[in-house]
């Protein structure tokens, strides 16, 4: 049983020693699934198996199970999770609920997220800080459109590990072949999305099979149990060595004698004496002290909340970013234009021309939607032409900022790549987004640059919706070439001449047309605004 379970599956170490609580690592994960596929039940079961449910809570759970009328099914673990009255009554999850439990090895923060499309934004919120996502598949129903949507959203916010929990395995008689075919269907459905690991676990949340102990009903399964995998999956992988990045959150100036720049280090390390640069101003300074309540530190690394004191009086305020000097690989860039993948979280659609307040790291700026580059169909992953982007829709957009900000592609540095847009009138959080890498970046694969130029040429020639225009254009071109071939064939009686004439017609006409256009274009083409801007992201 190789494919099922992780490609990266590690053997479960024997009994864990009773490590001190403080030394335990932390795994943040989310559970996502569709209505009735047992998501809350699975999470309730996990908490129960980890011993995280106190006796008095089980007592009140029994009372609630009886009151809501599901007593025939025994204890309804889902009632542990759905916190709001309306959720409990309707039996659905609307909002993200956070739960906490710990085993001997690890502390866990779980975001139980809603499955329904209407609450996609809530799922994305829960997923944004998660290391791992559990996607449930009901063995009786198979891979649903929602399954693809959940995987896409998890990939959008950068979740690295995926666990596919094939639930209710008793519905297919715990049959290996049927479960393997579900796995294959899933892998096909999410092809193209990147995760560090994908682990498939057949289980029953209600009965507990393969949740905390391996089930006798699936002797063919040789992967880890769900809880066993959550305890060992590599969430705390060491981030690559890189220069300091610290967004300034607050200027700590209690009196005239002290001026510290407070913030949490997002990447790299800092020590007194280090030279630093302030973005976006690019002024230089040296760090003299790293101040904390517990005394000055000789060195501080990512994830530490500190106050840095600099050796000179320079203008630094909230929203600036203190970085290691130089433009090393992966260091933040200063930009007034960004391209980002965005999910609309507000009630109103995002439309070109609209201006929002952007919050990225600790910085704020006004951001105007320039263009919707393309929409992304959240069920099929297909690119779609969009004039605007509605609630719960995903799209790639280009934003123009009213002042330069230090930003980074989300994949490189989430702290300077994730952002929200806030509606300036209603104060609603209109969208959440991730900065995507600059398409003009020379480090990108050459093939991509070629693809991009081709795309741009197509857009220039056939307009923004060239894909839709291209099909009739191509069939017309081929049709007319074929007709010409037939005519030449009939006139000359020679198939070779016929084929040559058809091929020449099919190739030469578009080439001549393109040449003609580009000659005219030299006269009239407007400069690309992003070039003037010094290159967008």
């Amino acid at each position: 049983m190789g494919a099922l379970a992780a490609e990266t599956a590690a053997p479960l170490p024997a009994a864990a020693n009773d490590a001190a609580l403080a030394g335990r690592s932390l795994l943040r994960f989310i559970t996502c699934g569709s209505v009735d596929d047992g998501k809350s039940t699975l999470l309730g079961r996990l908490l129960y198996e980890a011993g995280a449910i106190p006796d008095d809570v089980i007592a009140s759970l029994e009372a609630d199970s009886a009151r809501i009328g599901r007593a025939d099914r025994g204890i309804d673990y889902s009632l542990l999770l759905d916190g709001l009255q309306s959720e409990r009554e309707q039996g659905i999850t609307i909002d993200v609920a956070y739960r906490y439990f710990a085993t001997q090895r690890r502390a866990f923060i779980v975001a139980d997220t809603p499955g329904h499309e209407q609450y996609t934004r809530n799922m994305a919120t829960g997923a944004s800080t998660a290391d791992l996502a559990i996607i449930l598949i009901d063995a009786g129903k198979g891979v649903l459109p929602q399954t693809r949507r959940h995987a896409l959203i998890a990939a959008f916010v950068g979740v690295r590990h995926l666990v596919v929990a094939i639930n209710k395995i008793d519905l297919v008689g715990c049959d290996e072949l049927r479960i393997r075919s579900l796995e294959a269907a899933f892998r096909t459905a999410i092809a193209g999305l990147a995760f560090d690991s994908i682990t498939v676990i057949p289980l029953s949340a209600r009965d507990g099979d393969n949740v905390a102990s391996l089930s006798a009903r699936t002797p063919w399964y040789d992967g880890p149990t769900l809880l066993g995998w959550l305890e060992v999956v590599g969430a705390d992988t060491v981030s690559p060595t890189r220069g300091l990045v610290m967004p300034v959150q607050w200027v700590n100036r209690p009196d005239a004698t002290f001026r510290g720049f407070s913030g949490t280090i997002a990447a790299g390390t800092v020590a007194p004496g280090d030279a630093v640069e302030i973005l976006p101003s690019r002024r230089s300074a040296r760090v003299t002290r790293i101040v904390t309540f517990d005394g000055d530190l000789p060195r501080a690394g990512a994830g530490t909340a500190v106050s840095l004191v600099l050796d000179r009086e320079i203008d630094v305020s909230r929203g600036d970013v203190i970085v290691a000097p130089g433009k090393a690989e992966g260091s933040p860039l200063v930009r007034t234009s960004i391209e980002a993948k965005m999910l609309v979280t507000g009630q109103a659609a995002l439309v070109p021309g609209a201006t929002y307040l952007l919050r990225l790291g600790t910085a704020s700026a006004n951001a105007t939607v320039e263009t919707v580059v393309h929409g992304i169909d959240i069920a099929t992953y297909a690119q779609r032409d969009r004039a605007s982007v509605a609630t719960n829709e995903l799209a790639v957009l280009r934003l123009r900022l009213d002042r330069p900000l230090a930003v980074a592609p989300y994949a490189t540095l989430p702290a300077l790549g994730g952002f929200i847009l806030v509606d300036k009138v209603t104060h609603e959080t209109a969208a959440m987004g991730t900065v995507i890498a600059e398409t003009t970046d020379s480090s990108r694969p050459r093939l991509h640059v070629v693809g991009r130029s081709l795309e741009q040429a197509m857009v220039r020639t056939y307009g923004g919706d060239w894909r839709r225009t291209l099909v009739p254009a191509t069939t017309w071109r081929l049709g007319s070439a074929l007709l010409l071939g037939v005519v030449v064939g009939v006139l000359t009686g020679h198939p070779g001449y016929a084929a040559a004439a058809a091929a020449a017609d099919a190739l030469a006409r578009p080439l001549l047309r393109h040449l003609h256009r580009s000659l005219w274009g030299r006269w009239s083409r407007r400069r690309d605004p992003s070039v003037e801007n010094g290159g967008g992201i």
Partner: protein, 300 residues
Amino acid sequence: MTSPSHLDRLEAEAIGIIRETLATCERPVLLYSIGKDSSVLLHLARKAVHPGRLPFPLLHVDTLWEFQEMGRFRDDLSHKLGLDLIVHVNREGVAAGVNPIESGSRIHTDVMKTVALKQALDAGRYDAAFGGARRDEEKSRAKERVFSVRTRDHRWDPKSQRPEPWQLFNTLKKPGESFRVFPLSNWTELDVWAYIEREQIPVVPLYFAAERPVLWRDGTWIMRDDERMPLLPGEVVQHRMVRFRTLGCYPLTGAVESTATTVPEIIAEMRASRSSERQGRLIDFDSAGSMELKKQEGYF
């Protein structure tokens, strides 16, 4: 560099939330209930602003029915740290004779806590109130945001909460609106105790087991802290080794039998324990979903 531990990460997250509030709100206040979570919150706030002093006051809503030891602890700590402490009592409630014995827990909590809190927040025109609530305490709190918007009337609308992806907070508000800010959102009861031990944070002695005068009522041990609480027929005051997991108004707060007299003993007891923290809080059990209703009305 070793990667930060679980507690280091929680600490940095809380400090970040406190600083975010200082940077984006004009008149913050720290709701100080004297309990262990408030003690941790106060400690984190001092860390966040170090080397400065706290640039905001502490607010204690006094129901006049809390354990006497709590008041003494509050006054000692405030004196020692030189805190700017505001103690607010709903005098109209007192004048109306509201108390937990005759009015019942629901009315007493509403008038002396929820209404009193709103009075104090309005009086101070605070636009952000730090609270020590944790998501692991109770079901509706599990749905709470870190920056939770309150209307002009301090109401919470659980159905239209702002998403908080990547811990990016939307801190925009209209005139009159305010935030309840919860830096300990992601902490558990065990984390709080482990942190109290690591940082040697002083807490009210009621958390530690001692022989106390208690009586058995409503399925829990209630401590008779003063003569205001009459005994019901058949009730006898006994002396037992008990401690409290949460602190509030003494007639409404149940104790557990315990021998834990130090923080490590409490942690050891908790890890073996099979009952939840708020089990001793009678006000949570007025009716199903009662915490959600109280929160909507402005309770913490």
